[in-house]
């Protein structure tokens, strides 16, 4: 009997969905967009916080460095990235005080990748470019002039004592200069 009701229900509902939604899939947008706090109280009105299916992605907005065609986003889970990068690295690890985590350093031919631990999972902490065979997504390599960096990344960086930093999402990229030329480039995750 249940099946019968269900089949009636399903059939009718499909028709109705087509009529009502004109095939539209983006349903949850308005509630989400109308602002954090109020949206929350409103969601509670129906009796529950609606379990919306869209989980936020951790590394949505951060610098991504690409090495040999493999993307290395800051704050992204490290295991998969390291696996893709292959075996050509030397490895170093250092447990933090009181075993609260493990700093891992993977040294490849042209880059160094560092990871940190959070909730038992490793995340990309930093990438350091070691030589001029690799370039940032914006085309900057070691040896580039200060002007080239500023032309590529803009003037709104944080000036440091020995270089400049640009922040994007929960990551920043640093260029270290000596005599007007880039001697080091690092990507760093901001761990929150």
């Amino acid at each position: 009997m249940k099946k019968k009701i269900l089949s009636i229900m399903l059939g009718a509902a499909v028709v109705m969905t087509l009529a009502a939604c004109s095939g539209d899939d983006a349903d949850t947008a308005p509630v989400v967009l109308s602002g954090g706090e109020t949206a929350q109280t409103e969601a509670a009105e129906g009796g529950s916080d609606t379990a919306d299916g869209t989980g936020d992605t951790a590394a949505a907005d951060a610098f991504v460095f690409t090495y040999n065609g493999i993307a290395i986003p800051m704050n992204a889970p490290a295991d998969a990235v390291i696996e893709q990068l292959g075996d050509g690295y030397t490895y170093f690890e250092a447990p933090s005080c009181a075993y609260e985590g493990m700093d891992k350093v993977y040294t490849y031919n042209s880059i160094v990748v560092r990871s940190y631990t959070k909730d038992g999972v490793d995340y990309i902490a930093a990438v350091e470019l070691k030589d001029d065979t690799v370039a940032t997504a914006e085309g900057i390599r070691i040896g580039a002039t200060e002007e080239e960096v500023r032309a590529a990344y803009g003037e709104d960086g944080n000036e440091g004592t020995s270089g400049i930093e640009y922040t994007k999402g929960d990551s920043f990229i640093s260029f270290i200069f000596e005599d007007g030329r880039t001697i080091a480039i690092t990507y760093t995750a901001i761990v929150g």
Partner: protein, 528 residues
């Protein structure tokens, strides 16, 4: 201020102490008003403007309507000799028309505010998706906390006034308290003026029994919310967040989890609301009556979110279906479509309207609309199948059998739980897909081999959930079979009552899913 926030608990504690220790019984309603406004103020000071406008409109409307009706009635009485039968009817008709006009005016403003705040972006989004091309941008509106609840409550007052079933409140502050009474703002219930006003304004004495009953009910609400609902929610989010991974049997798990989560969250919230009101000496109507023991969907909707259901029945379903036009339509359709079909037409139209409104009311999103209409379809289907059932029962003589009742209850529960899936998944299409996957690729084996441990629940959590849901079930069973809730039994054995409260409090504090250990960004403490 959510019920589970520390701020709220401190707020309530201070309120209750000031209420009974430092406020004269006669003035206590005033303190309730101040607390309600403060509650609103802390959420967002701008909200106060909205709620005040709504209350003021209802206040003015009520007084104007009542005075007008009284004046007309008195005139009619004093000048009987001036009217013949027809004249009297005409005179009354004019009164009714003006009354209706006043009501429409008041509802336009109050429902207009609701529509403008809650549904503008919904409409824009829908228009965008239909029209295509350059999308209209969303407007940045604030949605006042609990606006659906207090607007509906106020609208019921205005309609009752214009029907003449309640007396107008002539103290603006008292009416403002009715509109803003804070425990109800978060999740309802939607009270009627005729019910709530009986205890809201009267001088309140400290009554030990009332306070004890209310207190343990608050604890019970927190227990359900914190120990069960909030523990299940992250798991549900994980399951519904990766629908490709978690299909088939997992959808069934989502159904079960969500049924428990929603029930415990919603009834828990209502328990806290009614419990607080009871501690404060205010009687609020019940909103749930063991909905999961319902034998069919109609019964379920008579037992779930009762105040909303009766609101829609009283203010949409009845007026619509007994309006002269509908009666005409009913007559016409009976004459032209035959008695059997014709009888149904008007009821179905009204019912459709109710469920459309219910869906929209639940949230400004299409999946709520579809969910509402699905309810309509299921109710209609079961209504139509009823004679079939009757025949079936008659043939096999099934009805008196207890096992059959249990079957009906389980069937209704499963049906309602599957409808709730619309709440869970990101969009309507996905919900259907996931629902279908239960039948095409159930594959129960997937559940084992560690998958259930990957959704944020440890074996300890499962044991705890099983245990606490059993407790909730047993307490419900007690009510089902004794017809009264278990508090009376405990209160008559007061030491047992006190001990239950202590156990409930401690269990909630220890096992509640609150605080740092349960934050989205969980700290690492697994190793200790």
């Amino acid at each position: 201020m959510l019920f589970t926030s520390l701020k709220f608990i401190v707020f309530i504690t201070i309120l209750v102490i000031v209420y009974y220790a430092f406020t004269p019984a006669k003035e206590r309603w005033g303190l309730l008003l101040m607390a309600s406004l403060a509650f609103y103020f802390f959420a967002d000071p701008r909200f106060l403007i909205f709620i005040f406008v709504t209350a003021l409109v209802a206040y003015v409307h009520a007084i104007v309507t009542e005075d007008y009706q009284a004046k007309r009635k008195a005139y009619l009485k004093q000048n009987k000799e001036l009217f013949d039968g027809d004249g009297k009817k005409k005179y009354k008709k004019t009164t009714a028309n003006v009354t209706r006009l006043l009501l429409v005016l008041s509802l336009l403003i109050n429902l207009g505010i609701l529509a403008a705040t809650k549904y503008t972006n919904f409409v824009i989004d829908t228009v965008n998706s239909i029209r295509g091309g350059e999308p209209l941008s969303f407007v940045n509106v604030i949605i006042p906390m609990g606006i659906s609840f207090y607007t509906f409550q106020t609208v019921s007052y205005s309609i009752d006034i214009s029907r003449g079933t309640v007396k107008a409140e002539r103290n603006l502050l008292k009416l403002l308290l009715f509109v803003s009474f804070f425990p109800q703002l978060v999740q309802g219930p939607i009270s009627r003026f005729g019910d709530l006003s009986q205890t809201l304004y009267t001088p309140k004495q400290f009554e030990f029994k009332n306070v004890s009953y209310g207190f343990i009910r608050i604890l019970w609400g927190y227990f359900k919310k914190l120990v069960i609902a909030d523990r299940l929610l992250p798991a549900i989010k994980i399951l519904t967040g990766s629908p490709d991974e978690y299909n088939g049997a997992f959808v069934f798990i989502v159904m079960m989890f969500y049924a428990a989560q929603l029930y415990c969250d919603f009834t828990g919230g209502i328990d806290i609301t009614i419990g607080i009101a009871q501690v404060l000496g205010v009687t609020v109507k019940e909103n749930f009556d063991l909905p999961y023991f319902s034998k069919n969907i109609k019964e379920y909707w008579n037992r779930w979110h009762i105040t909303m259901g009766t609101w829609f029945t009283d203010y949409i379903f009845y007026p619509l279906s007994v309006s002269p036009k509908m009666l005409k339509l009913s007559k016409w359709s009976r004459e032209h479509l035959g008695n059997a079909v014709g009888k149904r037409v008007t009821v179905y139209i009204s019912c459709f309207a109710v469920w459309l409104a219910t869906g929209i009311w639940h949230g400004a999103a299409w999946h709520f609309v579809v969910w509402g209409l699905m309810n309509f379809v299921v109710i209609m289907a079961s209504q139509e199948l009823e004679p079939l059932y009757a025949k079936f029962h008659a043939k096999f003589n099934l009805k008196p059998h207890k096992g059959y009742a249990v079957f009906e209850i389980i069937r209704t529960f499963l049906l309602m739980s599957s409808l709730k899936l619309f709440d869970c998944y990101a969009n309507v299409g996905l919900t259907f897909k996931m629902f279908g996957s239960m039948f095409t690729t159930f594959n129960a084996g997937k559940l084992f081999g560690g998958a259930l441990a990957d959704i944020g629940l440890s074996s300890g959590d499962y044991i705890l959930l099983a245990g606490s849901i059993t407790v909730v079930f047993l307490v419900s069973l007690y009510k089902k079979f004794k017809g009264t809730d278990i508090r009376g039994f405990l209160y008559d054995r007061f030491p047992l009552f006190a001990l239950s409260a202590v156990i409930l409090l401690i269990a909630t504090l220890v096992f509640g899913a609150y605080g740092a250990g349960y934050d989205a960004s969980q700290f690492i403490y697994n190793q200790f």
